[in-house]
């Protein structure tokens, strides 16, 4: 493959034709945050956290899906880029479920990590949330859509990695969500125990059921002296 030269953050970098900006940047040791993107999956450019500035382009471009071209002048951490990334995180946090202290996955949450990296605190926006009932009828998977950030990694991993097609997208605007069938709670009929989606979920929206939960729900705690 032909080699091309582009400029990233004022530095000449070499890349192979067909590489995305993200891949070229990573290879040159430049870190760009990503949320909806995973190297194993086909990029869809949904979260926009990986946007970068390409000189001459009208808008910011998603680095995970835009092929790098010879002579491109790219800024991955300009003020404009950082402001947009921060706004995206703020928007996600403002619509994300409550407190991290209550979340099992808080310490492995990608959203929380990027928020910390970008120094995003409390969002400037009002909290706008969609609360969904916890889907815990399946023995294999627990789904809490209130924590979902619509990166669609689950849906893509299910199709592209596991070779199934359990998830779909429904509704529009703020109410858009990842659905199973005609918006049914996920159960063992449609989804078995491969667990691929769970490993792809960046937040606590997908998880494995825990024994402890069952116990607590079934038997009220009795205190004996």
């Amino acid at each position: 493959m032909a080699e091309i030269t582009a400029t990233i953050n004022g530095r000449q970098v070499k890349a192979k034709e067909g590489m995305t900006i993200l891949e070229a940047a990573l290879e040159s040791g430049i870190d760009i945050p990503t949320l909806c993107h995973r190297p194993e999956l086909v990029p869809i450019g949904a979260c926009r956290i990986c946007v970068v500035e390409v000189e001459g382009s009208r808008t910011l471009v998603g680095s995970c899906h835009t092929p790098i071209a010879g002579g491109m002048v790219i800024h991955t951490h300009s003020d404009k880029v950082l402001a947009t990334r921060r706004m995206i995180i703020e928007l996600l946090l403002a619509s994300h479920c409550g407190s991290c202290y209550m979340c099992d996955k808080a310490n492995i949450c990608e959203l929380r990590k990027i928020a910390a990296d970008l120094e995003v605190g409390l969002p400037r926006f009002q909290m706008r949330k969609n609360y969904y009932a916890l889907e815990d009828i399946s023995p294999y998977i627990v789904r809490d859509l209130t924590k979902c950030i619509m990166c669609r990694r689950c849906a893509r991993a299910c199709r592209e990695v596991a070779g199934h097609n359990v998830f779909g997208i429904a509704y529009r605007g703020f109410d858009t969500k990842v659905v199973v069938d005609f918006d049914q709670p996920i159960d063992k009929e449609v989804c078995r125990d491969c667990g691929v989606c769970i490993s792809f979920c960046p937040t606590g929206a997908l998880g494995k059921p825990r024994e402890a939960k069952e116990e607590k729900r079934g038997k009220p705690l009795i205190i004996t002296s």
């Binding site: 956290i49 946007v51 910011l60 402001a83 706004m87 928007l91 605007g173 703020f174 969500k177």
Partner: protein
């Protein structure tokens, strides 16, 4: 469709063509055609044919019928009109005049299609056949020159030549983005691949836009021809037309046209013997706005959820099913056959340097003529709105025009001179888009418009990318807060930041343009946003969360109009006065002279006629029995002294409320009598002196001391005398100069001075022939006063037209009834004084471009000078305040006192100013409102809480919203007979009697009682 020979083979003496576009069909056009056919058959008329066409684009006037070859244009035809049309016109040759188009601008009936200004200023290329041919007969299209271009492109040109022709024509995508169509074709043609697709984007989703639908309904073959030419150029063998399923008629006609084209050999295998194969499928879309985006549209054709995907790869490389594809808008494709037929050079000479050809707009909103308008690129916006559109109906003022639908922006009056093309509109923050154009007048709230468009994009966002899904939601919520009075000033900046980042960060065009309506409205109408946030005021009286009843919301003093009108309706005028007195101390004055902005916003006005609010107030005030005094609270003296300079409506109102709060108030008045402009500006025939005197007496009774004949020149002296605060309400009494040579000549008077002298009883002689220069209320007052002083001939000279005249139309009517005449579009150029008379040299004017006030600027016509002799010339150009230098306060433009708009504080501590002196010449009610604000601010300054709100009226009984409103007009106001008027200064309006007032009050819709969210 009844079996008939093609139109070209039948020799008929006349054909009546009924419009069968969706608009006219919903107006029963099918039934009208059937009735016509039946009636024609019944009468056995020979040589009369009944046929139909597609949309004419003037849907507001539908159902439309045209009689050819005469070209008689019938509008708003109903089935009941059919017998008359057939008998009178088709049989007897006498056209039915009552169905002619009635021009809203010139007020004339226009019988012929070609004379209708809506049409004859347009240049129709895309819509060339719409309304002219039968869209369900391919023969009609061929007879109109159709499919010749296809033949030429297939047989005489190579694909490269076709692409080159389209490239050189400068055609740019009419879907909104404006990318070069020829280049787009070239990309796709050059892309490697054996299977390519040609797609027509007919997913028209902008609210109010319907040009694509009309094109497909009125001329489906042109789209097919354009598509086939494009397919041949790029090498596609299959095509899709993506039409939204909400367009059943368009789908039906396109399917029929496809069948006919295939039968005639214009589609299918080996087209016209060229060896080229092309098939077109119709895909009905489910109505998602985002499917107008090309990648989402292709996903939808593939049967997936319509969501955009990142580009590159562009559709030209990898489109539908991963194959090279080309997508063009309906209008772009409809243009292609014309370009091939007439050549690139012909097309390139239409339009501007960068934007070639014509553009179609769906002109709607507050406009006299709404419909489809096709004009060359670069056509001025104001010509579309005022020339073709006929301007704003009902005498309302233009506010903004929204172009490009939810992705476009709102442009203010000051930009109406802009030429319409891609670059210019983009620079102004808007876009040409797919061609929506919504005109808004003063009754449209700009924040509400932005909120509406955001709610549309949020609903239509596919939810894929974060900025669009969540960002527009936050923007919408902020706008909702602002329109409900919960906004904060920081919200405007947050909106701007969000907008900028949503535009930069979104994945597709929907998100990248969604903030445009918000950005442009903030850019051009920021003051309205601030008004909503700071004052909870919506000047259009639209926002439900802020406005209870539009009348009281619009009243500067906030009088609770619906409540007092209910009291009047119950026969309790004294209680009504108490309600009015809760806000103003001048009920009777306002009942006679208020310019009643409330009535302009009255919801009843949208039914038939606004409630006569002012006249009802006058009625109540004349039946006052002092009931309001019962609930007055007494305040203990504060020991603070306030000096008020000027005893006009602002000064006296402030004095009244300050005295009621326990302050000791002295009002200084330079003239011998108090009342300000109410006393010396408004003539007696409108406001009798004793009525004013009685209301001022009530103010004096409240403890206000008025010192007349006392001019204040220095504020320091006032403070030295021990006053703790001062309110400057000195008004605007100094007349402005005309600015022409010779205006100092004897015989030339200043209007303010003239009215003042007459009011104060001085003897003023005007002679027999008088000219009044100006178009405001003062000019009208001067004219009517001059008539009462014995002038035989009074001419008002105004440099603009009736539509721009600021004077109250009722007053203008009265003046004309009393014998004054008005010379519009005339401006004085010079005055020459002679002994005993003056000569006025004037120029005729014509209206030119729009100025910053949103009105068309009058420009002199060269060589139109003319001179007229008068005994007196009265200059009513305007007034400005006279502020003594020793006041030591800062003044603004036009000599007005600079104040904080919220508190009315001036640059000096303890000194406040309001009324005309701080606003420039305005109205009595605005001065009263300023007086109220001054009282609040001064009381707070003196240590009080600034509470002047009070309840004076007794509680209302059980009340309910008005159930049903039957059409009923306001009773006529009895006036003094014309003959008697000119001999005295007696009051012209005689007032409603009990019966008329109660009847009128009962028309009130009681908007304040309506339930809201």
């Amino acid at each position: 469709m009844p079996k008939k020979k093609p139109a070209s083979q039948v020799v008929n003496s006349c054909t009546i063509l009924v419009c069968h576009g969706t608009g006219c069909v919903s107006g029963k056009a099918f039934e009208i055609r059937e009735a016509l056919e039946k009636k024609v058959a019944e009468l056995g008329l020979k040589g009369v044919a009944v046929d139909f066409t597609g949309c004419h684009g003037f849907c507001q006037q539908g159902p439309i019928a045209v009689v050819e070859p005469e070209g008689i244009f019938y509008t708003k035809v109903t089935v009941d009109d059919v017998p008359e049309i057939v008998e009178s016109h088709l049989r007897d040759g006498k056209p039915v005049a009552r169905l002619f188009y009635h021009d809203p601008v010139s007020d004339e009936a226009i019988p012929l299609y070609k004379d209708v200004p809506f049409y004859n200023r347009q240049k129709r290329i895309i819509l060339r056949n719409c309304g002219r041919i039968n869209p369900e007969r391919i023969g009609d299209y061929i007879a109109a020159g159709g499919y010749k271009s296809l033949r030429k492109a297939l047989l005489d040109m190579t694909p490269e030549q076709v692409i080159d022709e389209v490239k050189r024509s400068g055609l740019r995508g009419r879907g909104g983005a404006g990318f070069s169509t020829g280049q787009k074709w070239e990309f796709c043609a050059k892309a490697p691949g054996d299977q390519k697709y040609m797609i027509c984007n007919a997913d028209e989703g902008d609210p109010g836009a319907f040009m694509d639908r009309s094109t497909m309904e009125g001329d489906p073959h042109t789209v097919i021809e354009g598509m086939t030419i494009a397919a041949c150029a790029i090498g596609a063998s299959e095509g899709y037309i993506y039409i939204r399923a909400e367009y059943p008629l368009a789908v039906k006609r396109v399917l029929l046209a496809l069948k006919q084209a295939e039968e005639e050999g214009y589609l299918g295998e080996n087209i016209l013997g060229s060896g080229f194969n092309f098939r077109i499928h119709v895909k009905e879309g489910a109505g998602a706005f985002v499917c107008g985006e090309e990648t989402a549209l292709m996903a939808s054709i593939e049967g997936k959820r319509g969501m955009p995907r990142p580009r590159p790869p562009f559709p030209a490389q990898s489109g539908l099913w991963g194959k090279p594809s080309n997508i063009n808008n309906v209008k772009s494709l409809a243009t292609v056959p014309v370009i091939i037929a007439n050549g690139a050079e012909w097309y390139a000479q239409i339009g501007t340097e960068k934007s070639k050809g014509t553009v179609v707009f769906a002109l709607t909103g507050k406009i006299a003529n709404s419909g489809l308008v096709e004009v060359p690129m670069g056509y001025p916006l104001q010509e579309i709105i005022y020339g073709i559109g006929g301007g704003i109906p009902d005498g309302k003022r233009f506010k903004a025009v929204q172009t490009g639908g939810p992705s476009g922006g709102c442009l203010p009056a000051s930009l109406l001179n802009l030429p319409v093309d891609y670059e210019t509109l983009a620079q102004a923050g808007s876009i040409v888009g797919s061609g929506g154009m919504v005109v808004m007048d003063e009754d449209t709230c700009i924040v509400d418009v932005a909120r509406y468009f955001l709610s549309f994009t949020q609903d239509e966002s596919c939810g894929k990318c974060v900025p669009c899904r969540l960002g527009t939601k936050q923007m919408l919520d902020i706008l909702n807060d602002i329109t409900h009075g919960r906004g904060k000033l920081e919200d405007i900046d947050l909106l701007l930041k969000l907008s900028e980042q949503i535009k930069a960060g979104s994945l597709c065009g929907l998100g990248q343009t969604a903030p445009n309506p918000v950005l442009t409205t903030i850019r051009y109408f920021r003051d309205e946003y601030e008004e909503h946030i700071k004052k909870h005021h919506c000047r259009a009286a639209v926002c439900e969360g802020l406005v209870s009843a539009p009348c009281s919301h619009t009243c500067p003093a906030g009088i609770d109009v619906p409540r007092y009108i209910r009291f009047i309706g119950e026969g309790k005028p004294a209680e009504a006065v108490a309600v009015i007195r809760e806000k103003i101390p001048f009920p009777a004055v306002c009942g006679l002279v208020c310019f009643h902005p409330c009535e302009a916003k009255c919801r009843r006005g949208q039914l038939e006629e606004a409630i006569a609010i002012r006249m009802l107030k006058g009625y109540a005030a004349s039946h006052d029995n002092g009931l309001w005094k019962e609930n007055i609270r007494a305040a203990s003296p504060t020991g603070k002294r306030v000096a008020i300079v000027g005893a006009g409506p602002a000064g006296l109102t402030a004095g009244y409320y300050l005295a009621r709060l326990g302050h000791s108030v002295t009002v200084f008045e330079a003239l011998p009598e108090p009342g300000g402009m109410m006393r010396v500006g408004i003539p007696d025939y409108r406001l009798p002196k004793d009525i004013l005197k009685a209301e001022i007496k009530e103010i004096e009774d409240a403890g206000v001391e008025i010192r007349t004949n006392t001019r204040v020149d220095s504020l320091d002296e006032l403070f030295n005398e021990g006053y703790n605060a001062a309110f400057l309400a000195t008004g605007a009494h100094q007349g402005m100069k005309i600015g022409v040579k010779g205006e100092g000549s004897p015989g030339v008077m200043d209007c303010a001075e003239f009215l003042r002298e007459v009011s104060l009883g001085k003897k003023v002689e005007v002679g027999g022939k008088v000219a009044v220069i100006g178009g405001g209320n003062a000019a009208i007052d001067a004219a009517r006063t001059a008539l009462r002083l014995g002038a035989k001939e009074v001419t008002i000279v105004y440099r603009r037209t009736k539509a721009e005249m600021p004077a109250n139309p009722e007053e203008v009517e009265e003046a004309i009834a009393e014998g004054a005449s008005i010379d519009y579009l005339v401006a004085p150029s010079r005055i020459k004084g002679h002994s005993g008379w003056v000569e006025l040299e004037s120029l005729r004017m014509e209206l030119g471009e729009i100025d910053s006030s949103g009105r068309r600027r009058p420009e002199p016509i060269k060589g139109s000078e003319f001179a007229t002799g008068y005994d007196t010339i009265i200059a009513a150009i305007g007034q400005r305040p006279e502020v003594p230098e020793r006041f030591n306060i800062s003044l603004g433009w036009g000599n007005i006192i600079e104040v904080d708009p919220d508190t009315l504080a001036t640059s000096r501590e303890g000194v406040y100013a309001g009324g005309d002196a701080a606003s420039g010449p305005a109205s009595v009610i605005e001065a009263i409102a300023a007086g109220r604000q001054a009282a609040i601010s001064i009381d707070k300054y003196l240590g009080g809480r600034g509470e002047i709100e009070e309840t004076l009226a007794p509680p209302e009984g059980e009340i309910a919203p008005l159930e049903e409103a039957e059409e009923q007009w306001r009773p006529k106001m009895p006036t003094m007979p014309l003959k008697k008027r000119l001999s005295s200064f007696g009051q012209v309006e005689l007032g409603y009697d009990d019966k008329a007032a109660i009847e009128e009050a009962k028309r009130c819709l009681r908007c304040d009682l309506e339930e809201r969210e």
